[in-house]
Amino acid sequence: MSYELIGITVLWIFLYGYLIVASIDFGAGFLSSYTVLTGKKHIIHGVIERYLSPVWEVTNVFLVFFMIGFVGFFPDTAFYYGTALLIPGSIAIVLLAIRGSYYAFSTYGARDRKIYILLYGASGLLIPASLSTVLTISEGGFIDAEDGKVTFLFRELLLSSYSWAVILLALVSVLYISATFLTYYAHRAKDMPALELLRKYALFWSFPTIGSSLLVFYAISYHNPIHYAGMVDLSWMFALSLTCFIIAISLIWTRQRYGTAFILVMLQFALAFFGYGASHLPYILYPYLTMYDNFTNEAMALALIIAFVAGLLLLIPSLYLIMKLFLFNTKYVEGREKK
């Protein structure tokens, strides 16, 4: 494997990690404020809070890691995306800031102020929407880089049906992923009312997820035919992804093996996400940037990869520890553990 490929793979894995943990977080935020509105809060709030409280900061680091790593491995992306994304990027920052801090405030500080919870819930949907536009932009057609001057074609983005299809997919996936995870978590917590409600949400959001992915396929075939052709070449990955989806949903439908179902959901997204990413290569920003002409120098690439491996050796045991304490510790999950 070339350094370029290792680099992009590492980053893609972390983005995938962010996709999963952040979806759980964002979706849970939305669901919990939705239940505040519909008066069903008491049913699922405990489950959500017990899972989210210890891990929200960890979620954020996945994003930071991806961002910093990208500039490390592909310094030119800072130049193109940095110039182009000033406005959407800043909006995403503000939303993340509101979300992160108000989450802490409402959980640790002034409990249960409605306005905090609503802000928290709304930002849970707006952030994935604004972050997903970065993927849209990478398909080309929204950035103009003539004579070294980079301009962002905001109007095109607003009027593009592809862009809206991606946003739709991002939103429903967030709700679907987090509902399937929380179903599993509620099951472990032996919290039957929460399980029933969350299972209903999971089933409700499953078909829109598949529907909007088909929509994205369709839209990309017009927007970027080259990428579409690449995706067709990798169609086995997408077919497998669909299979995972079908099994996962039938498991949840028949009320068995919620844990396996969630792993299948993760696989479903992994296959689709890596299929999408692999067919995107070698372009990082179509048609201006490929991963080859902007890679960092060899010395830095090697240093980054070594640092990465060393970092993983630290991280994996720590992640295991936090999961053991908060995810797989039945006493804690059921809320019987002293804090």
Binding site: E57, N60, I93, A110, T296
Partner: protein, 476 residues
């Protein structure tokens, strides 16, 4: 209205974000150390007051960390958005510490999550304490890595420039550049000092408001003892930083000291007003030989003056005041913590109350030390960063070449200033509310009551052999 200039707005926005972040980052680096001290004392001395102290500090810490995390994420994104050309170059040479910093964050975040939710989970109290060690290491390591990046901007090395391209890169040489050691140690020691003083100021304020529990006196003694050690270290390392500047960035030192002509036996001027026509200084306090001592440790040595440097490479002369104010605050903090510690020791020997360390003027001075130490951090960074101008990467890239060319930076500035104002106000409100609603006295009583209950229960359990599982209300 001045004409729209993305460079100017980028600078102001960077300044605003960093100045806001650094407050929470400093607390984020220093407070875990203080929590660790308190918890350790509590366990070793079996003193529930220290344990409660650790718990209450940790509870407030969660709120400040949240702000540190979100503003830090903002900087990480903003550096790319506002300084794309700089990041393109710097990314090649100094990506390594930035990348490693994210691992430090990961490490810190994971263990902080565990630490906060496992107060009463382990049989052995030390287990919980050990969970804090990775948090301390993680936050101090992140300060180390990010400061190494900043040091690189001041003394870049580990690469060559060839036809505008960066070649021959040595990541470790770039990371361990000449500025790294003094900068990192000064940043760390000043962060510990600031955190000790901020926490001490809270305890002193409570005593001033007539709260008289020993809990506050213990808090004050712990924080002021730590503060004294860190204040001595900060001043000593600050002196080394001066020597570093004299060797590697003489123009920064000369501008900070309004030292125009190269001279031996150079005096140090505190304060003063500069006459720009003939470069004379009025009203300043002149300390003979002091600049030569600060620069080289020898009263007779020669210190380079501003005249040696081209006019368009000199930093703004206003940094003089920032340097002076930082040093003045440093000396003030040192004296205050020293006086407190001396009085606290003295009192043990003589039972007379004449040397009360908790006398009102001293308590007020400690209260003032909290905000002043934060101010010193801000001033120190303004001095270091403005003193680097006009360069963003000294000798290689001017700040104006590194900035974005995007329109709308002014709108973004407005957006972020609004955000920081809202966050700033909310954090203050939440923190005051949080601690008002749960006063330390109430919690101490609760702990006592709980201990009594547990004791009573154990007795009754022994009596009846009953194995009922009791749910003790969580105090978090």
């Amino acid at each position: 209205m001045p004409e729209y200039d993305p460079i100017l707005y980028s600078r102001i926005l960077t300044f605003t974000t960093l100045a806001f972040h650094i407050i929470f980052a400093t607390i984020g680096v220093g407070v875990p150390v203080m929590i660790a001290l308190a918890e350790w004392m509590g366990i070793k001395r079996k003193d529930p007051h220290y344990l409660l102290l650790a718990r209450r500090w940790a509870r407030g810490f969660v709120i400040t960390v949240a702000i540190g995390v979100v503003t830090g994420t903002a900087i990480g994104l903003q550096l790319n958005l506002l300084w794309p050309s700089f990041m393109r170059v710097a990314g090649q040479a100094i990506a390594l510490p930035l990348f490693m910093e994210t691992f430090a964050f990961f490490f810190e975040a994971i263990f902080l999550g565990i630490y906060l939710y496992t107060w009463d989970r382990f049989e052995n109290k030390m287990t919980h304490f050990y969970l804090l060690i990775p948090v301390v290491i993680g936050s101090s390591a992140s300060a180390f890595f990010i400061t190494a990046v900043n040091a690189f901007m001041n003394t870049p090395q580990g690469f060559r420039m060839e036809n505008g391209k960066i070649v021959d890169i040595q990541p470790l040489v770039a990371m361990f550049n000449p500025a790294t050691s003094t900068k990192v140690s000064h940043v760390l020691s000043s962060a510990y000092l600031t955190s000790a003083f901020v926490l001490g100021a809270i305890a002193a304020y409570a005593l001033l408001k007539g709260k008289d529990h020993v809990y506050y006196k213990k808090a004050l003694k712990l924080t002021m003892t730590a503060a004294l050690i860190f204040a001595v270290a900060t001043a000593a390392i600050g002196d080394l930083s001066g020597k570093f500047l004299a060797k590697y960035q003489p123009v920064k030192l000369a501008a900070a000291e309004w030292h125009f002509e190269t001279a031996k036996e150079a005096p140090l001027v505190l304060g003063g007003v500069l006459n720009k026509e003939d470069n004379t200084i009025k009203y300043g306090l002149k300390i003979p030989y002091a600049l030569s001592i600060l620069a080289h440790g020898n009263p007779g040595s020669e210190v380079l003056g501003l005249e040696e440097f081209p006019e368009d490479e000199r930093p703004p002369l206003s940094i003089h005041y920032m340097f002076d104010a930082m040093v003045a605050i440093g000396i003030f903090l040192l004296l205050v913590s020293l006086i407190y510690c001396v009085l606290a020791r003295r009192r043990k020997g003589s039972p007379k109350r004449r040397w009360n360390p908790n006398n009102r003027p001293l308590l007020w001075a400690i209260v003032a030390g909290g905000p002043l130490s934060v101010l010193a951090i801000e001033l120190g960074w303004m001095f270091a960063e403005r003193g680097r101008q006009p360069w963003i990467l000294v000798g290689f890239m001017k700040t104006s070449e590194g900035a974005t060319t995007s329109a709308h930076v002014d709108t973004m500035l407005l957006l972020f200033v609004t955000l920081y104002i809202i966050l700033g106000f909310t954090v203050i409100r939440i923190l005051t509310k949080m601690f008002k609603n749960h006063s330390a006295e109430d919690e101490i009583n609760a702990i006592k009551a709980e201990a009594d209950i547990t004791k009573a229960e154990r007795n009754s359990m022994e009596a009846t052999g009953n194995h009922s599982e009791t749910e003790v209300n969580s105090k978090l």
